[in-house]
């Protein structure tokens, strides 16, 4: 099986990248040190940086990349729009606003997660409803309502941050995404939600295949499309919210990764989804390592890196896709 071999290769690539990502950063930890720390020894400072900062950060980056990519794959299929992803549809902005408000209100980490989730759900509901007003089943209406809602929510978010800058980390953190504040606490609160949401979506890959052919077609193949829509939008919101609440808005991952993966493994979501998950993890671990090394000792917010790849990619899809009109 060619695809099994390709999957195994990607797993190996992720392991190698992770090892490299452990080494690089504002404090460079030599590979020998990492090995001796793994054996229970090693320098105390290195140990603290590796175990307390770098490992949780890399785990969160990988899990976030996985979750956002799978969400993107599902949103693209569900909404029949190759440009759909949590960022472009405004789910990320909604989640960020929910998280920011609950931080200002001092609701704690779980409260922040819950608020981000609720706001993300409300946002996707709003965007999809708006796109159905008038004659809008077309792809463009959906994207435009996503962009409008996203811009509006970002404005409110900026205002909230201006009014309470003591409590909130900077505007750059929320708008551009940042993994520098990740510790084990964040990983424990966020990653399980992302993993559960992603796995739940994966269970509906077959149904998603049928839905891509049209909602009526899927219904007549025995798919309860309304239920699948509800479950996928809820899981996509959960995954996005859990990611955004601890690391801000990392854009374009959910757009790019499924597309590139689809070019190699085809559109069957039962295959595409696991490959996208792995590719997404690789991409964000890589982007995060870049963000720590390009202008050492300072960091570039990871969202800048994903947007540098993603902006041109968006235009490329816009030019090549026949379904956006």
């Amino acid at each position: 099986m060619k695809k099994t071999a390709a999957f195994a290769l990607l797993v190996i690539l992720l392991i190698i990248l992770t090892a490299a990502a452990l080494v690089v950063g504002s404090v460079k930890i030599p590979l020998e040190e990492i090995i001796s720390i793994a054996r229970g020894g090693g320098d105390a400072t290195y140990r603290r940086v590796l175990l307390g900062i770098r490992i949780p950060r890399i785990i969160q980056a990988a899990v976030t990349g996985m979750g956002l990519s799978v969400s993107g794959a599902f949103l693209q299929g569900l909404l029949g729009n190759p440009l759909a992803d949590p960022y472009i549809l405004g789910i990320s902005s909604g989640a960020a606003l929910g998280a920011a408000v609950s931080i200002v209100l001092g609701l704690g980490m779980l409260g922040t997660q819950a608020m981000a989730f609720a706001a993300a759900l409300a946002t996707i509901y709003l965007v999809v409803s708006l796109s159905r007003i008038g004659h809008g089943t077309g792809g463009a209406t959906l994207l435009l309502s996503g962009i409008a809602v996203s811009t509006f929510l970002s404005a409110i978010l900026s205002f909230v941050m201006l009014r309470s800058h003591q409590k909130l980390s900077g505007i750059v953190f929320w708008m551009m995404g940042d993994f520098s504040l990740i510790s084990w606490n964040e990983v424990i609160v966020s990653s399980p939600a992302i993993i559960v949401g992603t796995l739940l979506m994966y269970l509906y890959s077959k149904e998603l295949n049928a839905i891509i052919m049209g909602r009526e077609t899927a219904e007549h193949l025995g798919v309860n499309t309304q239920r699948v829509f509800g479950i996928i939008l809820a899981c996509g919101s959960l995954v996005t919210a859990a990611a955004v609440a601890v690391s801000g808005i990392v854009g374009f991952v959910g757009l790019m990764v499924p597309h590139i993966t689809r070019m190699f493994v085809g559109p069957d979501n039962r295959v595409l989804v696991p490959f996208s998950a792995l590719t997404g993890a690789i991409f964000l671990v890589f982007a995060d390592a870049l963000s720590r090394t390009l202008i050492q000792p300072a960091e570039i917010p990871i969202g800048i890196i994903t947007a540098l790849f993603g902006g041109p990619f968006f235009l490329y899809i816009l030019r090549t896709s026949k379904t956006i009109k």
């Binding site: 693209q76 269970l203 891509i212 049209g214 077609t217 007549h220 025995g222 379904t323």
Partner: protein, 253 residues
């Protein structure tokens, strides 16, 4: 034997009555054309037969079972439905598309078994689409697409095949090809087919049964000579026609 029986069926969309007191009995292996002007409720009738829409009153039974008593998956194993519009898909091959016909047979964690693959292959061979299996569904011609969709419906191993305007966008060669294919499936496999058609000539030539619908009511049922009369056509479509009958067939012009 009656494969499909519709009795006293009424259906409304919110605030708008669509179907009124429809009574039909379709024998197993028959091929029925549903004819009528745009907006008369033909598509709605098909969706009521498939169980996708739930009638306000009356009932549809398929092989003796009331359709609304079945689960959605059970219905998908009995009834193949080809809607008017199908998305070209995100790069699915024809084999992928036909494979989706096995969806009602698969469990949540299950992939296609050898049996499923055999059913898919058989469906594609019956429709002459096996050679298209690796082609992208979005890249084939309209007539080929329609045959692939029929193959997908056959992969569901249905007793009843419902088609909403299967030949409307096709040129005359493909129209004849598709309709004669369906006729052959009815004759050979005992499938009961119902198709919404606009071409009265084509319907007269291939469909043993015709149902003429006007404003949500059945105006006439029967074989072509019974249904296609100048009076009926004038009543339903509001145009004057001459009926010419070559070889005992009815061809209105």
């Amino acid at each position: 034997m009656e494969a499909v029986k519709i009795s006293g069926l009424c259906f409304d969309y919110p605030g708008k009555p669509v179907l009124r007191d429809i009574n039909l009995a379709l024998t197993a292996g028959s091929f029925t054309a549903v004819l009528g002007p745009n907006g008369c409720g033909k598509t709605t009738l098909l969706k009521n037969i498939s169980g996708y829409l739930k009638p306000v009153s009356g009932q549809v039974t398929v092989l003796g079972t009331p359709i609304q008593k079945l689960t959605q998956k059970e219905r998908a194993k009995m009834i193949g439905y080809i809607p008017q519009n199908t998305s070209p898909g995100f790069g699915f091959t024809c084999l992928d598309v036909v494979g989706m016909g096995r969806l009602p047979y698969l469990g949540r964690f299950q992939w296609e078994t050898r049996e499923d693959r055999a059913a898919v292959k058989e469906a594609m061979e019956l429709t002459g689409t096996w050679d298209l299996r690796d082609r992208l569904f979005g890249h084939i011609s309209g007539g080929e697409m329609q045959r692939v969709l029929i193959a997908r419906a056959l992969a569901q191993q249905p007793k009843v095949l419902l088609m909403d305007e299967p030949v409307s966008h096709l040129d005359i060669r493909y129209q004849v090809e598709i309709v004669s294919l369906v006729k052959r499936l009815c004759d050979q496999m005992g499938i009961t087919a119902v198709a919404v058609l606009h071409d009265i000539n084509l319907a007269s030539r291939y469909c043993g049964e015709m149902v003429l619908v006007k404003e949500g009511r059945v105006v006439s049922i029967g074989n072509a000579p019974e249904v296609i009369t100048g009076e009926n056509i004038k009543n339903v479509f509001d145009i004057e026609v001459d009926i010419i009958m070559p070889h005992r067939l009815v061809i209105p012009h």
